[in-house]
Symmetry: C2
Subunit: 380 residues, 2 copies
């Protein structure tokens, strides 16, 4: 059966990306590759909505997170880390591994955070604040705009994990005062997994330049130096085919227009939530903090989450995700990021209605579809 | 014009690899992906000629080198590093970045090293010895077999950079006492760039387990833990499409037979050297240390190396490499690793004869071809 990937990464690749991916490798020191990389670099600045340099490293998003902090901070540095779920905890683990004096500000799962709570916990010696923009495990976002603006003028560097938001939700590094935005290729950016991208402010560059922390592969000063060469280069052999495919993906975003892409994601998020509510389900995330790129929903009492996921795949070919850790069995997660259309969201809602009805839930079939269609029709 | 990549990485991808590469991405937590990864893991053990676990990290070979040492050693540890060229120097830089007390044993460029010189420099407190198997910048190999066997029973861990040899030249981790062999996907293994593979001995695992060095993405204990899960997994999202393509490449090696692959490379190396000698050129590397996967040759006095490279590409579509650093302008390098046949070596020799004749060198056209054909015909 044809499968539809409604999971939070890897997300489906557009055919234009698959086509480029399946090409013979280029040598990374040729003019031809340099042209690809130069175009990718300017495309990345567009999707990051920034004039800051955006570096490309061959690694997963976790590698990008490690690169961000190992350049900005030194062992013993005081760092305030906000965790609202599994990926906040992962960033906490990275910070602990790096020997920072890290304080974890725990946000209840399903909620996000704004400037107020962060500023309350900020001490004069805090060297950095780290926030997950969109917590993939709970489908809740934090208000990085207010946090970044409040942090301007303090001595703290602001690092944002935008792995599951960038390219689908508004992020503005300069205006919002974000020193490093980290994302990875395989989520809203519609690229194959294998690359991580980081935008780097001048302030972050200065911190990195003065930092003697042990790093080599993650050295962002070196990455930016190579990026600034004419033509731009990488310090180490990049994943050439993924770079080539990423250019195709970023070009698609440029063609659709970044703000249109954000609006599409906002619309898909609303469609998902309203559709789910229409079938009597409750979104897991607090409405004030909902994500545009994925939706988590509570599994009704007495229903086996794993069985929903299994039937969705076997009966409808739609792959969705379950909950992690304490949310295992309690929620299901539907991603609607990247190469996903409003039609895919409708299909998923219909399939879920059918699945829940099959599991004996009193679902009024068709209501979710209608609710979601109503939102879909209100364009713009 | 159709191009032929005779460069030391990335090397050309076989059509079977390109085909798999250009497929829709799989989710890395599915059964289907797990089957791919499990097959890759057993295929990697075959090409590494080992029973040790072989981990796959999404990074370049440089990342793999960093992972190897950051797990085995701590800041301040005494490490003996052999450098015979650019890549030995890179490993030295990594070790310095990691804060090891590293002694550099410099080997003249174009030569390799054996057990004698290493054991002479080994002190009782040396925690590790690092050797580049095949120095890509000079096309000279070191005798890692004799070094590894001599190091058995000492307290030193033996780390080998086999980035440009593994899959093309004999490497035997257990028999030769190599604790970590690092390689990358895009050289003799015929995979796209983006992955690094490391075989890890029990002794290296124990060193890693007791090591508190700062690492997260490079944590090999975690990578092996995930590899041992049923089904095998990665701690972080892998470059799924490259993993899929790598399985296709490793399968091709299994079909040809590893010893046959080694013999093919040995034959191609000999063809290249004899062909070059027949046109009056002198291989750069000492004959005792020659590589099977690439050949460096001295550029005749009065001839511009860059012009040879340019004409080879423009007139014949064959891309070869120049020299690095102090060898810039002095040598050209012809790689014959991975998806390269004896026929490709003949084509390259013919093209080089034509190029040199065009540059006014008294080349007896056809002699190189005949010399190389003679070796090619002595199979086995």
């Amino acid at each position: 059966m044809k499968k539809k990937l409604m999971t939070p990464g890897p997300t489906p690749l557009p055919p234009q990306v698959v086509e480029v991916l399946g090409q013979q490798v280029l040598h990374h020191r040729t003019r031809e590759y340099a042209d690809v990389f130069a175009s990718l670099n300017s495309g990345l600045k567009y999707v990051f909505a920034t004039h800051y340099p955006v570096v490309t490293l061959t690694a997963s998003g976790t590698g990008g997170m490690e690169a961000a902090v190992v350049n900005c901070f030194r062992p013993g540095d005081r760092v305030l880390l906000v965790s609202a779920g599994v990926f906040g905890d992962r960033f906490y683990d990275i910070c602990r591994s790096m020997g920072f004096d890290v304080t974890k500000l725990e946000v209840p799962w399903g909620k996000g955070i704004g400037a107020g709570e962060v500023m309350e916990r900020l001490t004069p010696d805090t060297r950095g604040v780290i926030v997950t923009h969109n917590e993939t495990s709970t489908a809740a976002r934090s208000d990085i705009e207010s946090i970044g603006k409040a942090l301007k003028g303090t001595g703290a560097l602001f690092i944002v994990d935008a792995v599951s938001s960038l390219g689908g939700m508004e992020v503005r590094p300069e205006e919002w005062g974000i020193d490093i935005v980290v994302t990875s290729s395989q989520k809203a950016l519609m690229c194959p997994p294998g690359l991580t991208f980081l935008s780097i402010s001048q302030r972050a560059m200065e911190a990195a330049q003065g930092n003697t922390s042990r790093r080599h592969y993650w050295d962002l000063c070196k990455a930016v130096d190579f990026l600034n060469k004419q033509p731009p280069q990488h310090p180490f052999t990049p994943a050439v085919n993924i770079v080539m495919a990423s250019l195709a993906a970023v070009t698609l975003i440029q063609e659709e227009g970044l703000e249109n892409v954000w609006l599409r994601h906002k619309r898909m998020g609303k469609m998902a939530r309203e559709g789910l509510r229409a079938m009597g389900l409750e979104p897991f995330a607090d409405e004030r903090y909902v994500s545009d790129t994925l939706t988590a929903v509570k599994v009704p009492e007495g229903i086996d989450a794993q069985e929903i996921i299994r039937r969705m795949e076997e009966d409808f070919g739609i792959i969705i995700a379950g909950g992690n850790r304490s949310l295992k069995g309690k929620i299901i997660r539907i991603a609607h990021m990247g190469y996903i259309s409003e039609g895919d969201v409708l299909d998923t809602l219909k399939a879920l209605e059918g699945t829940l009805a099959g599991l004996g839930l009193p679902v009024d079939e068709g209501k979710a579809y209608t609710a979601a269609r109503t939102i879909m029709d209100i364009r713009g």
